[in-house]
Amino acid sequence: MSILHYIPKGDFATSYQEKRTIVSIVTGALVLAAYCIYAFGQYQSGTVVPGDLKFWARTILIFIGIGIAASIVIQIVFHILLSIATAVKRKILDENIDDKEIEKSIEAEMVEDEMDKLIDLKSTRISFIFAGIGFVAALLSLIFNYPPEVMLNIMFISFSIGSLFEGFTQLYFYRKGIRNG
């Protein structure tokens, strides 16, 4: 075997961390879309009185709860499905493989190391920048005489979009690489 033939396969395959990030982005986007459809649908149908902050506070709190619950459930389901997929893949490649070996390869695939932590830190900064911009925009909306519900929505939506951008930034760093400092 020459060194030219020793080209590693699957360099561009999606890793566990990338898959997990994609699942988080999809979950966050679905919850945000559901919030927009429900809340603005109610507002446009006229069932919400302008200035009814209780409705907005309740709706936002409910959707924060839904977001957390959906995220936990979907991550658990994702872990189970990925473990099954890895086990099946290993069994197809090697029929005589024992369960301990399969368990070891699943654990190896799901390990979180220093690069993951660095990417997490850098992408969290993007999320905070979005949340900060949203907070300032929310305060500005009050100064420019927009109703308080606009302020609440700007804050909630900027936090949600910031979280989505955190995911996109993570995917970008996983693909393009990351430098210390």
């Binding site: 890793s15 390990v111 690489g177």
Partner: protein, 75 residues
């Protein structure tokens, strides 16, 4: 004025001469994910000093045999 360095590595060559060690095997020996080994090998991620030593240890060589740097002018 600080100088700019470009860090390069010989991981692919060392893996080849270590009985064609796979990236997964190296990842397991260094205690990181395969994704991180891929990124280090491609020069997309500069590992911490600790990880650099662990990679060198996995091959049983000195750190200078795995990683090298070239001066690329002043920053």
């Amino acid at each position: 004025m600080a100088k700019n360095f470009e860090i390069s590595n010989n991981i692919r060559r060392l893996r080849f001469f270590a009985n064609a060690m796979t990236q997964q095997e190296l990842a397991e020996k260094a205690g990181v994910s395969r994704q991180t080994i891929i990124a280090v090998e491609a020069g997309k991620y500069s590992p911490s000093l600790e990880l650099a030593f662990r990679i060198a240890d996995a091959f049983g060589v000195k750190i200078g045999e795995v990683f090298d740097y070239q001066v690329k002018g002043d920053s």
